[in-house]
Point group: C2
């Protein structure tokens, strides 16, 4: 996830997850990694980008073929949450925004 | 920009800018700060979130009331670029994606 995701031409969907963390570290890294692993195995998954700044703000954007694919992932995700990973403990605040990508430009240096 | 942006209820628009940098630092920080300052003065600007990870990936998401507001900002932005800030030198790669935010959830710890 250290490079921009290689998404196809629009339209497709983005889930923008922006957060600040609590001080609770127990279980966070493993669960975050596992979530990305699970997401990438879901039908309709197109890619993910994630960055956490030194100032504490984290942004993860996942890309999906359709709203249906997001709904399926959400069901899966919530299933995982139900298993007691304690998601809520890790976050001070978050926004989840679902958006339809209408156009995109890509630049890459030779 | 160390917290999630306080956006209103959807619908609104997001510009997701994902990048990796070159080694060129000259002028970058000042110009990036200035771009945020200018954006925040534009009509229709709703907020911005930005994070650059230790692994090098940067994600900046700006939020806008309408496509027209984005188009006006783009014109303004390109005008700045035309003044020789050398934008292209700073990036190894980037994606710019314009997306319509259709729904959002917010959580904040008491």
């Amino acid at each position: 996830m250290s490079k921009p995701a290689r998404t196809p031409d629009p339209p497709y969907y983005a889930v923008i997850f922006t957060s600040t963390r609590t001080d609770v570290v127990e279980g966070y890294g493993e669960t975050a990694d596992r979530m990305v692993e699970l997401a990438s195995q879901q039908p309709g998954f197109l890619g993910v980008e994630s960055a956490r700044d030194a100032n504490g703000l984290g942004i993860t954007v996942s890309y999906w073929e359709s709203e249906e694919a997001i709904a399926e992932w959400k069901k899966h995700g919530e299933h995982r949450l139900a298993q007691g990973h304690g998601w809520g403990r890790w976050y001070q605040e978050f926004f989840t925004r679902v958006a339809k990508v209408e156009r995109a430009n890509h630049f890459e240096r030779e």
